[in-house]
């Protein structure tokens, strides 16, 4: 197989010595191709073609107080992320929500929290510039998983909610979710 035969078979004349210079030598390329494809396979399998995706997160500046503007309680929607992928939400302040028992338990499905966000966004409408008035406050309990946080940030993108913030949870808000624990 790996012989270097001479092209054209030009060495068969009667003059005795073969004339090696004539014609182009034909090299058998098969092993080289084999090697080439072997290496291709290796590089294809070890390479990581796709770069990981990422999500940009902006947190409010702690050092600058002037960035914090008071939000009307009626326009704020608080979303609490609990353990076992549970989501709770209420409008207004925790005290009001407790008094009027308005806290709602829901989930991450499209008919769950997303529907609620969209409904409330539509209910509150936009301001003069057309920006939705709703302000979403995300509070995650310590038992919540990181996945829940990414999911809820995703919902913010899906529902096109621009005004949202991730805030540390208050003890009274943890209390609010307790009543759902006993039902199970």
């Amino acid at each position: 197989m790996a012989d270097m035969g001479e092209g054209g078979g030009g060495g068969h004349d009667k003059k005795g010595k073969k004339k090696g210079k004539k014609g182009s030598p034909r090299v058998d390329m098969t092993p080289m191709v084999d090697l080439g494809f072997l290496l291709i396979t290796f590089f294809m399998l070890t390479t990581t073609m796709s770069k990981p995706q990422s999500m940009e997160l902006n947190m409010p500046d702690k050092t600058q107080d002037d960035q914090q503007q008071p939000v009307k309680a009626s326009q704020s929607m608080t979303i609490i992320l609990g353990k076992d992928d549970k989501v709770f939400w209420f409008m207004g302040t925790p005290a009001e929500a407790k008094a009027e028992d308005r806290i709602v338990e829901t989930d991450f499905s499209s008919q769950g929290i997303r529907k609620s966000i969209l409904e409330k966004t539509r209910e509150l409408g936009g301001d003069e510039k057309g920006v939705p008035r709703i302000v979403i406050v995300i509070k995650a309990m310590d038992e919540a998983k990181y996945k829940n946080m990414v999911d809820i940030l995703d919902e913010m993108h899906i529902t096109n909610s621009k005004r949202y913030a991730i805030v540390d949870i208050l003890p009274e808000e943890v209390e609010l979710t307790k009543k759902f624990d006993s039902n199970i």
């Binding site: 034909r26 058998d28 390329m29 098969t30 080289m32 191709v33 080439g36 494809f37 290496l39 291709i40 590089f43 294809m44 070890t46 390479t47 990581t48 073609m49 770069k51 990981p52 995706q53 990422s54 999500m55 940009e56 997160l57 902006n58 947190m59 409010p60 500046d61 702690k62 050092t63 992320l81 499209s110 008919q111 997303r114 529907k115 969209l118 995650a140 309990m141 310590d142 038992e143 919540a144 998983k145 990181y146 996945k147 829940n148 946080m149 990414v150 999911d151 940030l153 995703d154 993108h157 899906i158 529902t159 096109n160 991730i166 540390d168």
Partner: protein, 205 residues
């Protein structure tokens, strides 16, 4: 019949073109390849609809494992050595050249500073086997903060990405994010997998 004679003749294929193609592809793959870094911790990232790409260079990657262990990694071998020298100076630790080389070759690590020296002294294969305890991030001893400060001095252009496991507790993430915020880092990236964007129209009806 002439047919029978032709049948037995060996066919010599010209492989030159095929060889060209093979090596062209090989060159392409060699040039574009970037080996999978052997990660200090296996992280199963959550998926999101976000399609922003993660920058490839000048990046600090903070990985949070499923069990809440925090790992730290920065790209660039020179940056790594610089970071190690800076943190050594700050904490009064001495690192030998051999340890610096070992550190510059690590993609990520999760050992407290007290154990770092002995961790770096290990041989490569042994080091891979060691169960790393993670970098302390609690309020009493926040070494992640020290690593971040020194890395940002070593490479001011650096951006920060957090790669959290989907099962990691929010409690740990909160600590990590608070650590970043303490240094006035308010923009960072969360590494996620890709997920199809759901149709919102159906829901909005």
């Amino acid at each position: 019949m002439p047919k029978v004679k032709v049948k037995r003749k060996g066919v010599a294929l010209d492989m030159t073109a095929m060889c060209d193609v093979a090596f062209l592809l090989l060159t392409f793959f060699i040039l574009t390849t970037k080996f999978k870094p052997n990660e200090a911790v296996v992280v199963d990232t959550p998926t999101s609809i976000s399609t922003t790409k993660l920058p490839e260079t000048d990046i600090i990657l903070i990985s949070v494992g499923k069990d809440g262990k925090v790992f730290f990694g920065v790209d660039g071998q020179f940056t790594r050595v610089d970071v190690l020298e800076r943190i050594g100076k700050q904490k009064g630790l001495q690192f030998s050249d051999k340890q610096k080389v070992a550190f510059s070759l690590m993609d990520g690590f999760g050992v407290p500073l007290a154990q770092l020296s002995s961790f770096l002294n290990m041989e490569g294969p042994d080091r891979a086997k060691v169960e790393q305890p993670g970098i302390p991030v609690d309020s009493v001893q926040n070494e992640l903060q020290d690593w971040l400060i020194n890395t940002r001095y070593a490479n001011p252009k650096v951006r920060i990405a957090i790669k959290g496991d989907r099962g990691a507790d929010y409690k740990v993430m909160k600590r990590v994010i608070a650590t970043l915020q303490d240094q006035n880092i308010n923009r960072f990236n969360l590494v996620t997998g890709l997920e199809a964007k759901p149709q919102i129209a159906a829901v909005a009806e």
